[in-house]
Symmetry: C3
Subunit: 171 residues, 3 copies
């Protein structure tokens, strides 16, 4: 059984940029750049990160993932469509889209207003409650210690946006 | 006051396996294996981990805990029966057991079906929202910097299962 | 636009204490001590932590933040009053103050009772669900990799209390 085509379709095109200057010593860090397509998109970066760990040839250490956005998170869970739909449905129950958010009340708000301001009050509250801003996964003998069903998802809690995250190997 | 017997009863029998090959340098990692008994079980590994940190003789560093399962999490909080019951009651309110989960709809689902598939849609959603897949605790002068009331719990969000987690010391 | 006065007002007076003995090698750790004023206070430690990272002159590594309390958390998000009010309103919807908490039922409870026990059942459940007990942020070429809108908040989920957190640089 299983449906590898569907699993594969959660991968997104991305560009990896090395952040370390040639002069810097110690841990290696990259930024992964990509564009999300829709709210509740689970972007699967497992294969890219497994490859990154393999190439880094770190025998013992850890992989730290960090999102610099206020409306995204990391979730490590199963690549299964039903679960992802259940997550979306539960989030809508818990932190509904159709509710008053003071963050989106532009008659009232005075701080940090932008020309292209999004209405994303629900997304910032969701990012404060679900998933994690960072996750640190152990590496032993060059292997990332993911469980059998675990996939590493960058989750879009807002709408389609240009996004990036940082992946750092600590040894 | 206090009731040490009850606190102690949250400990579970476990087996610790060293993951590092003799040839590997750097950080030390173990896998802790055990069997959980029921949904919402808070398994207290504080004493085992304090001993592990003590024996590791790392003067400054951190302890990283990681669960490789999709229906468990770490929660650091108080070993008090009322709180643990309150957590269970709140989780039932927020992500109810009695609700439609597409992950458990085997007429619809096509991905990752197993011979012994569990109905655990609620558990995967819960694991995406409560607690953490990993937690990193500082160590200073060989002491783990836990607060007075903090205990380290591995929380079972599914039913009785064989489980493990990884404990890695980073120095 | 923006309103720097309001943003600045989220900063709290604090005292920083070095935890490392002069004899200890490796990573540097400090404890930041302060007093919170009210429930749902978002205490902004971004500037203090940026300065700490700058002074530490670590070219590549990470900053690990850890709270030793059972009724607080870290949230990395935007310093905007509407969002902070939305967070409070959503938490009240999800884990209400007006509800029975067994942790606060002193006729029933037998464990860990203190002379000055607070009624904080809701706060411990909230701390198990929202935010994080720890967060690890990458440092590259002496720069903390925070996003444009990200601020580092220590969030009070109980009432006014003496608090502290640990900030550790891992290189």
């Amino acid at each position: 059984m299983g449906n590898n085509n569907k699993v594969t379709s959660r991968e997104v095109d991305s560009k990896v940029i090395d952040l370390n200057s040639s002069a810097s010593a110690g841990n290696r860090t990259v930024a992964v750049h990509f564009t999300t397509e829709h709210n509740n998109q689970f972007c699967d970066f497992t294969d890219l990160l497994l490859q990154y760990v393999k190439e880094s040839k770190v025998s013992n250490g850890s992989l730290n993932l960090y999102t610099p956005h206020t409306t995204t998170c990391f979730i490590i869970n199963e690549a299964e469509t039903g679960y992802i739909n259940d997550f979306h449905s539960s989030i809508e129950d818990i932190i509904p889209s159709e509710k008053y958010y003071e963050h989106d009340d532009w008659d009232k708000r005075t701080e940090n207003m932008q020309e292209d301001e999004f209405k994303n009050g629900r997304s910032q509250v969701r990012a404060s409650i679900v998933g994690s801003t960072n996750v640190t996964i152990p590496i032993v003998d060059s292997e990332l210690l993911l469980g059998r069903w675990q996939r590493i998802f960058f989750v879009e809690l807002d709408c389609s946006r240009d996004r990036r995250f940082f992946a750092q190997i600590i040894k």
